[in-house]
Symmetry: C3
Subunit: 316 residues, 3 copies
């Protein structure tokens, strides 16, 4: 789709990983790696105001972005629209444009509707950058980036040799969609997906993936597992009969993990339902990269904010 | 009431625009204009702690004050008393005095009771400054100041030549009261008010204003329109029959706006009920100053905080 | 239990005052006294992130810690778990370890379960420090420290000459337990406790204390009164018949206070139920140290955070 040599347009917003050029994706990972190893520059975004604008609550994601922004010296404001009594029927577009008029230059936006963050970005003024912190089932690009960074740290930069298995509710998961976009862009050797049929999307999301409903078989020889969170709503909707059944068929246990490559790594976007998607033994075991993902998340978000709002990004 | 030459007492709190001397009002506008044009001084309030103390929620106003305080280098704390489970029957006065004892020197206070902010100010210690961020129907002085700054930018400093029309629920509006105080202090040439009789105050609020219930007539030749927000409670209280009726009689449309002077400007304190007080075409049109008001709001609040809490205010 | 000459292990967490060595307790008070008199060092914790993690809401305590951390230059994050919709069944341990993985080094934790903060501390990584901001009925060590600092300022460092009276709901009070630990460590001359039998603990909490149910008698000659807050739940639980009865029997009035030593001081952890534990006249009178306690609270929390997270603490 693009070559490493093409001249890249500067990134204005980060809305999706779907059409992010490979060179830009790699540049973000490289910069994030610098920031994992070293220190952020507290002057990078000094005097720049950034607002988290969460129409759907998520303290964990908000904290990660807030820490990233603080380490770059930005002023951070939080607007938790989901619990605000002040929205008073104002449109999301007016909320954004109002806070933008106050001088805020960066927005971290989460919403439960597909495409809503891109729609807001279209309404933003020329100096304003938006980061999609999760919209509906569509995208969660910084999660995709942090997953790729974690995978690259563990397995090296050549993704063509990797067999990656995604387990769980791909149908409702923006994490899975962002991971799939990034894995394709980075040329992952094989992408497998394993889930109950009720949790698999019917559209083109899984194009090119090997789909299975048998976890033991799907695990055979994989280098990396990306476990997805099971939302409790799936039980209420009748898509999953019970947590016990789900765990029996799709839960990752230490014995099951032995089907994978011996040095396979296990990832999960959190928060984990312990004993459902994954047992304690696996979650806290040596192959788990769960906390490493969280750590990388702050560095990835710093890299994104620097790239969108800072001057030219400094070398390591 | 005062001359430009009199020596002004330093401003201790900002509680109302009613008795604010003209010279002090103009000094605040002048300083805010500097801050719109230039940069704030991040050392101005370094090490000074400011707390927003909102007994009535308002994220938009809180964010504006928070940004203003951050740009002056202050430490900002938020206490949203309206959603706090910790008030536990403590009096507002004890809440204030407790946070004051922690070393907080500035309080931004909003409450739904008339006069409550002034009552709190009377309880504050000698080094403490309060800013009224809206109390009941009485006052919202920083909104009044930002409206005057916006008007002055658009129409020049000589208010005696201006015909200003305020449209809507003056009866329940602290914004209108603060605007009226400031317009009188600045010597506005003519102040008209247009609203349904049920939304007009019976007291002295409108002294000197030309009151009308016919928007087309009231618009004739005005230089500036200040549209007020219609709270949905007015319908429940039976003061307005329906949003549709209100819009038909008192909503500002592009065709109606042609009755005003050709260069008339349109203001609204936000958040706008689009299609009620004002159509999209007008809200987003070339005569609308709505986003300019928001931008000026931060500068006005910086000027107020600097004046109350900083050392001598620096020239532009 | 320890001598002033022993070499102290550096303090890793502050979980309880029960086993805190006397020399360490005094070092914290000494450092807090420096900070009351002078300025904090805004570089002391620069670049260090601290998170308030409140499983039980308390705005007042959160603000005090937040101010303390800001004055030391730390980045402060607030996670009010009690109102968060995002906890989603995650264990407290996973919440802590996740935020820790983001690079947060200090946690201020409040929870309504006894021992829960110590349990979390056991799960924390080697570079992480926890401060117990109140757990169940067990401990509230920074409140104990600020009470001791306040007492020392008023009465001098020799506690052996002091008669201290604690009045009220010791049974349910973590404040009382932390005060009792500290008073014993500092060698208070006499500790009296006065409360209705229903509000007294049956365990070893009151070992060595003189217990009474007659406030007038208990007041005789005391140098310091520590009034405890009466939670309204006690009425619902039938432990107290009514606020009026409680006030009649255990409320501190100006006339009752005359039974104490003429220079006796009155303390209360706040928020005060005026007219219940204490009358307005006493709360706002010359013997009340209530606001001084609040002021000292910030300094004590600065001293604790510096000691746990900073380099070697500077002399005054």
């Amino acid at each position: 789709m693009n070559t490493a040599n093409e001249v890249l347009e500067p990134l204005r917003h980060l809305l999706s990983l779907e059409h992010l050029p490979r060179a830009q994706l790699i540049a973000l990972l490289d910069r994030a790696q610098c920031l994992v190893d070293g220190e952020g520059d507290r002057a990078a975004l000094a005097g720049i105001a950034i607002c988290t604008l969460f129409f759907e609550a998520s303290t964990r994601t908000r904290l990660s972005f807030q820490l990233a922004a603080q380490r770059l010296g930005a002023d951070v404001l939080n607007f938790d629209v989901s619990t605000s009594s002040t929205r008073k029927g104002e449109t999301a577009r007016d909320t954004l444009r109002t806070i933008e008029a106050m001088g805020v230059r960066g927005f971290i936006v989460r919403d439960n509707e597909d495409g809503s963050v891109a729609a807001l970005a279209a309404a933003a003024g020329p100096g304003t950058a938006l980061v999609n912190a999760g919209d509906g089932r569509s995208d969660h690009p910084t999660q995709g980036l942090l997953d790729m960074l974690t995978l690259r740290q563990a397995k090296g930069a050549d993704f063509s040799r990797l067999k990656v298995l995604i387990v769980g509710d791909v149908k409702h998961s923006r994490v899975a969609r962002s991971d799939l976009h990034a894995l394709r862009t980075l040329g992952a050797g094989e992408i497998r997906v394993c889930a109950p049929p009720t949790l698999l999307p019917a559209d083109a999301t899984l194009a090119g993936c090997t789909v299975s409903h048998d976890l033991d078989a799907a695990l055979e020889g994989v280098d990396a597992l990306m476990m997805l969170r099971l939302q409790r709503e799936r039980m209420e909707e009748g898509l999953v009969s019970s947590l016990e059944d789900y765990h029996r068929d799709y839960g990752l246990t230490a014995s099951r993990l032995r089907h994978a490559a011996p040095d396979a790594v296990v990832m999960h976007p959190g928060p984990i339902n312990r004993g459902v998607e994954i047992t304690d033994e696996v979650a806290d075991g040596p192959q788990s990269l769960v906390l490493r993902q969280v750590r990388n998340g702050v560095a990835v978000r710093m890299a994104v904010l620097e790239t969108l709002l800072g001057g030219p990004v400094r070398p390591c």
